[in-house]
Symmetry: C2
C-alpha cells in the first residue's frame, strides 16, 4: 500500500465520521427518536434533554461527556461502566505519555538516517514514505538504536506506573460500591453447590437448613434450594406468550374502534399451524381461555417443582453482610468438593441451569473447553493468514486475473486497496463471540458477568494470536516465502521481520475502527432504523414498543477484546513505528467521548459485578506489554545491536509486576473484604424482599403468600436474630 491510498483511507474514514456525527446531531433532536438516543435516561425516569442537550451545536454531546464526573457514570450506569472508563482513560494517558517522548525523539532519528543502500533484504522494495519514519529505516548496529532501546524502557515504565495507579483507584471504587449503605440483595446471600445426597428421610431443603443453622445459629436467615425449572419455565413462557398476544389483540381491537366502526372489529385467528389453518376463533376470547387454563397448571407445576425437583444447590441468606461475606470465603465441608460456598451473583445474572453442575464436572468441563478453544484458535489461524496474504491487490490480480479490468480503474483500485483486507478481517471476527460465550457458559460458570469475562479472555487470545500474529506472520511468510524455504526462521525473527512491513496495514485498521466504528456507535443508525421499522409495522402495544427500543448493554465480551487488540497493536508498534501512537490516542480519546455519551444516555447495563472486570483487563494489558518486550528483543537482535541484552530485565520486571499486583489487589476483587462489608447500612434490611428478589419469575407466585415456598424455599429461621 502506498502513501496516497493510506491518505485516502484516512480521509474517507474521517468524512464518514463527520457525516455520522452531523446525522447524530440532527436525529437526536427529533422527539420521536428520544427512545433511541436517550433510553437510559428514560428508563431511569429522567428528562432526556435536561441540561440543554437540544441545541444545534454538533459538539454539545462532547461538552456533556467531558463535564460528567465518575460519580455521574456510577449513578447512571454502575461501577462496571465506571471501571471501563478508568480502563479507557488509563490507556489514553499511557499512550499520550508514550507520544510526548517517542514522537519528537524517534521520528526525526529514523527519518534523518542516511541509507545509501537498503541492506534489509526482506523489506526490499516495500519501503515508502511511511516506512521511512519507522525503526526499520535505521541502519544495523547504528548508535541511534540506543534511543529506541531507552524508548522501550520508557514505554514499559509508563505502563507499570499508570496501571498501578489505576488498580488502586479501581480497588477504591469497588470498595466504595460494596460498602454503600443501600442494601443489595446479593450481599446477603451465598451460593452453595455440591450439596451431598441428603440422609434417608430428609429433603435437601431440610438438610441445607439444619447444616447452616448449626454453623450459623445467629446469622442464618433462610435458604432457597435451587430446583429444576425446565417444565415450569415452559408453562410460564407459554402463559406469558398468551398474555402478550392477548394484550396485542386488545390493542388492535381498541384501535379499530378509534378508526373504523365505533363498536370495533374483534380480531380473529385460526388455531392451527402458524394461524393459517384450523378453526377460526375470536382472538381475545381464545387467549383469555388459554390463560385461564394455564394459570392453575402453572400453580400446580410450581408446587411440584418446589417439592420434588430440588437440586443439590442452594442460595443461603444471612441477616448481615459480614456474615455472608465471611461465609462465602470459608471452607465449610471437610471434603473440599462438598458444600462449596461462593459469593452469590446478582439475581438477574444467575445462570440457573449451571448451578447443578458438580465440582469435578466443572473442572473437567473447563479443561475440555480450553482444549476446544485452543483448537478453534489454531483452526481460525489458517483462513486469516490466507485472507491477509490474498487480499493485497497484487495478489488478487495474480490469483483472480479476470478481476484485472475492474481493479485497474483508479478510483476502485484505491478504495479496494485501502479497505479490502480490513473489511474482510472485521467481518470474519464478527462470527466468533457467540460461539465463545456459549462455550464459556458450558464451563458451568454460575453468573453472566463471569461468563462474559471468560468469553472476553478467550476472545482476547483469539484476536491477538490470529489477527495480530496471524496477519504479521502470514503477511511476512507470503513476502519472504522463498527465503523461508531456504532457511526456516524462528518466530521471534519472523515477528521482527514482519512488523515494520505491516505497520501501515494496522494504521488503516485502527483508523477504520475508530472513525467508522465510533461514528456508527454514536449515530446509532442501525438501532434507529430497526426501531422505526418495528414501530411502524410490528408493534401494537406499549410493551412491544419498549422491547423494540431496549438499548442493550456495553457488550464487554467483545468490546474489551476489541480495545485490547488495538492496545496490543499500538504497544507493539509504539517504538518500531511511533506514528501509530497518535492513532491509538485518537481511538481511545474518541472512544472515551462517544462511550461516555452512550453510558450516560443509551446503554443499560445488564449486570453489575462491582469492577471484577478490572483484574482481567489489567493482566491482559500486561500480556500485551510482555509481547511488546519480547518482540523488541527479537527486533533489536535483527538489527544486530550489541546492547540488546539490556532488554532482558524488562520481561522479568513485567512478570514481577504482574505477581505483585496479583498478590496485593486480586483477592479483594475475588472476595468481599470484611472491613468493607462491615459498614453500616442506612436501615435494617428488608430480608423478605431480599429473599424474594432471588425467586425466578416462573416460580414467583402472584398470591405472595409463604405457604407454597415452604418446600424448596425454606422458612424464616425462628432462632437468634429476630427473636
Amino acid at each position: 500500500m502506498d502513501f496516497s491510498s493510506f491518505l485516502t483511507s484516512l480521509g474517507t474514514s474521517f468524512v464518514i465520521f463527520v457525516i455520522l456525527m452531523l446525522l447524530f446531531t440532527w436525529l437526536s433532536r427529533k422527539p420521536g427518536n428520544t427512545v433511541v438516543y436517550y433510553p437510559n435516561r428514560i428508563l431511569k425516569g429522567l428528562d432526556p434533554w435536561e441540561g440543554g442537550s437540544r441545541t444545534r451545536n454538533p459538539f454539545a454531546w462532547v461538552r456533556e461527556a467531558v463535564s460528567s464526573s465518575e460519580e455521574d457514570v456510577i449513578n447512571m450506569s454502575g461501577v462496571d461502566t465506571a471501571v471501563y472508563f478508568v480502563f479507557l482513560s488509563t490507556v489514553l494517558s499511557i499512550l499520550v505519555l508514550y507520544g510526548i517522548i517517542l514522537l519528537p525523539v524517534l521520528l526525526p532519528l529514523a527519518a534523518t538516517e542516511k541509507r545509501v543502500y537498503v541492506t534489509n533484504s526482506t523489506s526490499e522494495g516495500t519501503f515508502n514514505e511511511l516506512d521511512k519514519l519507522s525503526m526499520g529505516h535505521v541502519k544495523e548496529k547504528s548508535p541511534r538504536l540506543w534511543a529506541f532501546l531507552i524508548a522501550t524502557y520508557w514505554v514499559s515504565f509508563v505502563t507499570y506506573f499508570l496501571l498501578w495507579k489505576a488498580y488502586k483507584h479501581v480497588s477504591g471504587l469497588r470498595a466504595k460500591a460494596l460498602m454503600s449503605p443501600e442494601a443489595k440483595a446479593e450481599q446477603f446471600a451465598v451460593l452453595v453447590r455440591d450439596i451431598p445426597p441428603p440422609p434417608e428421610g430428609q429433603t435437601i431443603k431440610e438438610q441445607v437448613d439444619s447444616y447452616f443453622k448449626s454453623i450459623y445459629p445467629e446469622t442464618f436467615y433462610r435458604s432457597m434450594v435451587v430446583t429444576n425449572n425446565k417444565e415450569v419455565n415452559k408453562i410460564y413462557e407459554e402463559l406469558e406468550g398468551y398474555k402478550k398476544k392477548l394484550a396485542r389483540a386488545e390493542a388492535i381491537y381498541t384501535k379499530s374502534k378509534e378508526l373504523g366502526k365505533p363498536e370495533g372489529s374483534r380480531p380473529s385467528m385460526r388455531t392451527g399451524f402458524l394461524g393459517l389453518i384450523g378453526k377460526e376463533v375470536d382472538s381475545i376470547e381464545y387467549f383469555n381461555e388459554k390463560i385461564k387454563e394455564l394459570v392453575p397448571k402453572l400453580e400446580a407445576a410450581q408446587k411440584v417443582t418446589l417439592r420434588e425437583k430440588q437440586l443439590r444447590s442452594a442460595l443461603i441468606f444471612f441477616n448481615s453482610r459480614v456474615a455472608a461475606a465471611s461465609a462465602s470465603q470459608s471452607l465449610h465441608a471437610q471434603m473440599v468438593d462438598k458444600w462449596t460456598v461462593t459469593e452469590a451473583p446478582e439475581p438477574r445474572q444467575l445462570l440457573w441451569s449451571n448451578l447443578k453442575v458438580k465440582f469435578f464436572e466443572r473442572v473437567i468441563r473447563q479443561y475440555v473447553i480450553y482444549i476446544i478453544v485452543a483448537l478453534t484458535i489454531l483452526f481460525y489461524m489458517i483462513p486469516i493468514g490466507l485472507i491477509s496474504a490474498l487480499t493485497t491487490l497484487d495478489n488478487l490480480k495474480k490469483f483472480l486475473p479476470f478481476l484485472k479490468p475492474i481493479i485497474n480503474i483508479d478510483a476502485i483500485k484505491i478504495v479496494l486497496e485501502a479497505y479490502l483486507p480490513q473489511i474482510a478481517l472485521i467481518v470474519f471476527l464478527a462470527l466468533l463471540p457467540k460461539l465463545l460465550l456459549f462455550l464459556s457458559k458450558a464451563e458451568g460458570i454460575p453468573s453472566v458477568s463471569h461468563a462474559v469475562r471468560a468469553t472476553s479472555g478467550k476472545y482476547f487470545y483469539f484476536t491477538v494470536l490470529n489477527v495480530f500474529l496471524g496477519v504479521t506472520i502470514g503477511g511476512t511468510l507470503f513476502r519472504t516465502f522463498k527465503k523461508i524455504q531456504k532457511d526456516p526462521n524462528s518466530l521471534v525473527d519472523l515477528l521482527g521481520n514482519g512488523l515494520p512491513g505491516n505497520a501501515t496495514f494496522f494504521l488503516t485498521f485502527v483508523a477504520l475502527k475508530f472513525f467508522v466504528g465510533y461514528g456508527l456507535e454514536l449515530s446509532r443508525l442501525v438501532p434507529l432504523i430497526i426501531y422505526h421499522l418495528k414501530r411502524k409495522y410490528l408493534c401494537k402495544t406499549e410493551a412491544e414498543l419498549k422491547e423494540a427500543w431496549a438499548p442493550g448493554d456495553f457488550g464487554y465480551a467483545t468490546r474489551v477484546p476489541g480495545d485490547m487488540l488495538i492496545i496490543t497493536i499500538v504497544l507493539c508498534y509504539s517504538v518500531i513505528a511511533p506514528l501509530i501512537i497518535p492513532f491509538g490516542v485518537v481511538y481511545f480519546g474518541l472512544g472515551w467521548l462517544v462511550l461516555r455519551n452512550q453510558a450516560l444516555k443509551v446503554f443499560v447495563p445488564s449486570f453489575e459485578s462491582y469492577g471484577k472486570m478490572w483484574p482481567h483487563m489489567h493482566t491482559r494489558i500486561l500480556a500485551s506489554l510482555l509481547l511488546f518486550q519480547i518482540t523488541m528483543l527479537g527486533f533489536f537482535g535483527l538489527k544486530k545491536f550489541y546492547y540488546t541484552p539490556f532488554l532482558i530485565p524488562l520481561p522479568i520486571i513485567s512478570l514481577i509486576f504482574v505477581y505483585v499486583c496479583w498478590k496485593k489487589f486480586y483477592r479483594s476483587f475475588h472476595n468481599t473484604p470484611l472491613e468493607v462489608a462491615c459498614h453500616e447500612l442506612k436501615e435494617v434490611p428488608n430480608m423478605e424482599q431480599i429473599f424474594r428478589s432471588f425467586i425466578p419469575p416462573s416460580l414467583n407466585s402472584e398470591k405472595a403468600d409463604d405457604e407454597q415456598f415452604e418446600d424448596a424455599l425454606s422458612q424464616v429461621s425462628r432462632m437468634g436474630s429476630f427473636a
Copy 2:
C-alpha cells in the same frame, strides 16, 4: 561389589541389630533407666511398666507395639504421630502389594533369560549373581519385557489406590481431632500480621481492638499485640539462669550437710570471668542478691515492652471456634497485603521473632531462600558424586596406592567394601538439616511445625537429587566416562544405564539404615550413656536431671525425608530389581514396630499440627512415583522395547491424581472446615485461660493481675458475648 561382600554387609548389620535389641531388653528392665526408656509415660504420669513390660522376653515390646491402637497413639503422642504411622503403614502395604506380584513373576523371568553374549556394553563385566535377578539381565526387545511393563502399571495403581485411602483416613483423623469437645487454645485465636501504621494518637492495640470490634461485634473477645521482647527476654533468661544456679548451690549445700559436717559447707565462687577470677563470694547469697536485683528490673522491662514496643502483629481471640475458623479464612482488608489473618498456631510453637516480618518481605525472603537452597543442592552434588565414585575399593587402590597393603587384607577388604561408601554418605547427610531448618525459619514462617515441614521438603529434594540421582549418575559417569566423552547422553539414558549397576549399593544402604539405624533407635544407647554421664557428673537438682533425660520429639524434619529417600529408591528399583522390595518391606515394617514403641514410651511431641504433614508426604510419594515412571520410560527405551509408548499415560495419570487429591482434600488441611469447628464443646471455654496460654513466659507476670497487660494485651471486650 560382589555377592559375598553383600552378604557380609547384610549379616553384620543383622548381628548388630540383634545385639542392640538384646541390649534394649536388658537395659530397659533396670529401674534406673526408666527415664530413658519410658519418658513419655513418666511425663504423662503413667506407670512405666504397666501391662507387664518388665519381662525377659526380648519380643515383649513387639507385642505391645502391635496390639496398640491408633487411639492409643493419639492419646500418648498426638495426631501428628498417628499420621506418621498412617504414612508408615501405607507405604508398608504398598510395598507388600508390590512384592506379592512382582517377586514371584519378575525374578524368575529375569533369572531364566538366556544370555549368550552380554550386549549391553555399559554393564559389561559388572554383572554378578545379584544382577542376574534384575531387568538389566533381560535381553533387548525381549517379549518378557511385557511383564515388566505391566508391573509398572501395577506399581502405579497400587500406589494411587492406597494413597487415596490413606488421604481419606488422615482427613478423618484431622477432623476428629479438630472437632474434639476439649477446648484448645489455638482454635479460638487467629494471627494477624501486616497491621498498617496506626492513625495519629492511637496505639496499635487500640487500633486493633477497634478494627476487630467493628467487624466482629459479638464474637471478638480480646487481642494481644505482639511486642519486641528482645530486651525483656534477655533479662528473663538472666534471671532464670540465676534461679537455676541458686537451686544448684542450695542442692550442693544440702548434700554437703548430709555427707560431711552437719552445718555443711556453703558453696562459694568468684564473680569474675568464668568464676575463675575476681572477688570470692558466698554463692547462695550472691545469687539471691542478683535475683532480688533482677525481679524489679524485669517488671519494669515488661511494662516498657508492653507499652512501647508493640509490633504490627497481633493475636485475636474469639469466643467461639467457628468465629475464629471463619475469621482465619476471610479477607479482612481491601489491600490484601494489610491485616493478613491466618490460623493461630499452638502457643508453644509460635516463632515470635518472625511475626513482625511484612507481607512482601516474606515473599522476597521465600524466593531468596529458594535460590540459596537450589544453590546448596547443586553445590553438594559435586562432593557426593566424587564420594560415590571414589569410595569403591578399586578406585581407592587406584588413587591412593599406599593403602594397597591394608586393603588387600581380606577381612578389612570385605568390611570396607561393604560399608565405606554408605558410611561416607550417611555422615555427609548429617551435616545439612540444621542449615535447612535455619533457612526455613528465615523465610518468616510463624510456626515451628510449618518450618519443620518446609525443612523436610527442602531436605527431600536434596536427598533425592543428591543421593539418589547423584550416586546413580556419578557412579555411571565414572564407569562410562570414556563412552560419554564420545557421545554425551541425556539424563534419562544415564538413569536407565546407571540404575541396574547401582542396585546393590542401594540394597546395602537400605539394609544398613534399617538394621543399624533402627537398632540404635530402639536401644537408645547414645541418650542412655549421655544421661548417665550427666547424672553422675553434672546434675545436682531435680530440674537439671529432668532436662538430662528429656526425650525430644520425632524430628520429622529429617526423619520424613529419610523415609522418603528409601521410598524413592525402592520405588525406582521396584521393577528393575525387584529384590529391593523385601528390603523396603523390612525397613518400613521394622520402622513401624520400633517407632510405635518409641511413640508410646519415649518421644514427646514438641508440637501438634493436626496432621498438616500429610499432604506434604502424599505429594512427595507421588513425586517419587513420577520419577519412577519417567525412569522406566527411559529404561524401556534403552531396552529398545517397541511398546514403550504404552507407558506415556502413566505420568499424566499421576499428575491428574495429584491434582484431584489436591482439589478434594488439601484445603481442609490448610484451613479448619466450619462444619468441623462448629461441634459443641464439653463446657464453656475459659477464655481467660486461653488468652493467658499465649503470653510468652518472659512477659508472664507472677502477680497474675490484669493491670499491666492493659497495654499490648487488650482488655476483655465489654460488649456482646459476656454482657
